[in-house]
């Protein structure tokens, strides 16, 4: 094994790749610029949309209530609501978003309240539609307040204390440290992004150093040099791995930066706003541990991408082979985010999913050393197997000179 030759090939590939715009974009621009822009941008847009929807003056229909003038007068005072004339096809109007919600008042509602009889008010909404839900919630809140006020009036009329119907209070308090709370909320997302970006970071160099060389005709040039094919593969592979690890590191740094920035921004918004987010916290040691767990996975990605791209005749063909791989990686990475998917001995052997799950645990501050060892060992084994395949493929004439 000549480390000198591997080093020469690696240095050349590094110089070459750092001059390739596509590699630079996937390795540096995407994690540093795109990730924070996406996370902050999506957050800002969704806040804006929700804010706008909550302030909308909603068109609401009242069905019935002609014999309840008192209630009708009160309903007209509900904020951000405009009452429209009743119509039989209210359901269709709600579905078509022409009105946001409708409320059905039972006959004799005002009298029923005075007489102490039970009555049911029905609110119609478009479930899952943001603006309809805001309108329906406003109506629901109005009726809840009216109900509370009615109960209070009745108790006062009977000269009974208010706590008769409220004998005790219930309060909830979080006892988990901020790291654990944060881990539960975003623990699955951090490894998901790191895993995904370590894959995308390796994609372009893997294609460029294999299928790209075939397409440009430099493969024959390098094969007639005295460097052995094993050294050649290892030098090239190390470059692909460098790109993968760099992308993972940069994505982690940019995500941490975005997190700190968002936290400070939320804290400066003043009391009552963004307090929940401002209390979130991620332990830097846990992020570093996640990175360590992702390294064998980055080796696996680099070797697998290298082998797949090597088989292709051209850059375009390599892209068509590699694109489906994204789904193969995204699915197990997403599965780890789903609630209820917990790490066990069997899942510890499933590549990608195991790293994603253990990373989620690490972010919450839980270290199951037996699983961590199993996952690190199995991921290393898979990575070694993929590298072995890549080295052997590079020795096959039918792969190198496929036509």
């Amino acid at each position: 094994m000549s480390l000198r030759n591997i080093g020469i090939v690696y240095r050349k590939e590094l110089t070459d790749s750092l001059r390739d715009r596509r590699t630079l974009i996937s390795m540096i621009v995407v994690p540093i610029v795109l990730m924070p822009l996406m996370s902050i941008g999506i957050g800002a847009i969704s806040t804006m949309i929700i804010g706008k929807a909550s302030q909308e003056v909603a068109r609401v229909m009242i069905l019935g209530g002609d014999d309840s003038p008192k209630l009708m007068a009160q309903l007209r005072t509900v904020k951000n609501t405009r009452i429209v004339p009743p119509h039989a096809n209210y359901a269709e109007l709600i579905t078509n978003k022409e009105i946001r919600a409708a409320v059905e008042i039972p006959p004799g509602f005002d009298d029923a309240l005075v007489l102490g009889q039970n009555a049911t008010v029905k609110i119609y909404e478009y479930e899952g539609e943001l603006r309809s839900q805001f309108a329906a919630n406003r109506l629901q809140q109005f009726f809840r307040d009216l109900r509370d006020k009615t109960v209070q009036d009745r108790l006062e009329a009977q000269k009974l204390p208010a706590n008769l119907i409220k004998p005790f209070d219930i309060s909830k308090e979080n006892v988990a440290p901020p790291e654990k709370v944060t881990g539960n909320l975003v623990g699955g997302l951090v490894p998901y992004f790191i895993i995904l970006l370590s894959l995308t970071g390796a994609m372009y160099p893997a294609m460029d150093l294999t299928a790209g060389e075939k397409e440009r005709g430099t493969i024959e040039t390098i094969l007639c040099s005295p460097v052995s094919r094993t050294h050649l593969v290892l030098g090239k592979f190390l470059m692909v791995l460098t790109a993968s690890v760099c992308t993972a590191i940069l994505s982690m740094l940019s995500m941490s930066g975005t997190f700190v920035f968002a936290k400070r921004a939320m804290s400066s918004m003043g009391p009552g706003k963004g307090e929940g987010f401002a209390q979130l916290s991620i332990n830097p040691k846990a992020v570093a541990a996640v990175f360590l767990m992702v390294i064998p996975l980055a080796v696996l990605f680099s070797a697998a991408l290298f082998a797949i791209a090597l088989f292709a005749k051209s850059y375009k063909e390599a892209q068509s082979y590699i694109s489906p791989l994204m789904i193969v990686v995204i699915l197990p990475a997403i599965a780890a985010i789903l609630p209820g998917v917990e790490l066990n001995a069997k899942l510890a052997l499933v590549p990608i999913l195991n790293t994603s799950l253990v990373s989620k645990e690490i972010i919450t501050g839980t270290y199951h050393w037996n699983y961590i060892f199993m996952i690190f060992a199995s991921s290393t084994l898979y990575a070694a197997a993929a590298l072995y395949v890549a080295v052997n493929l590079f020795k096959r004439e039918d792969v190198l000179f496929r036509s």
């Binding site: 050349k12 007639c224 005295p226």
Partner: protein, 245 residues
Amino acid sequence: MIEAQQLVKVFHDKKRGEIRAVDGISFVCKPGQIYGLLGANGAGKTTTLRMLATILEPTDGTAKVAGYDVVTDSDKVRANVGFLSTATALYGRLTAQEMVEYFGRLYGLNDDELKKRIDRIFSRLEMDEFRDRRCDKLSTGMKQKVSIARTLVHDPPVMIFDEPTLGLDVMTARTIVGFIRECRANGKTVIFSTHVMSEVEKLCDTIGIVDSGRILAEGSLAELRDRYRQQELEEIFVQVVEGHR
């Protein structure tokens, strides 16, 4: 010195089945001589030269290049060979100097020696003007000079040229032809493949006419003219190839 004995290369194709690209080629090429493999496209020239350069492994037969076996001592063969073809492209994102340096280092040259050789070759080939320019920004002629510098950087005793002038303009082709002559003058063993008759007439000491993976006729130009009673190499070529079909 190149000695090929009964070289065979078989490819397997899903549609066409077994293809014998080279079917028992034998020849000897001595130092200070140019051996020309003359054949039509698909005759087996490139496959033969790729086997000599150890890019492909022979299915059968043996070959020794600079005294080393192409199968058992392939690393040493490559260290003693300069291989140039139209398919040996340059790394576009490297500069001319970086390209030659890269190969010099792979051939085991240390920094001092490499610098001396690069300075000498770049000066000899008048490449100083564009030594720091990226290869993808060079003209075809400049690119060919970089390729020549790449094959010469380790001063190999054996030179293999696979259709080196294919698709080149007259002036660039002349540079290549001049370079091949210079290699012979410097005592190198030179093997050269082409389908351009005039180049063979101008350059080769020995000509091997190749068709269907076999050498059908071999000798100097004068010997071939005598044997086939034709003056024009093209006529000799047609007579030999058609006589064996």
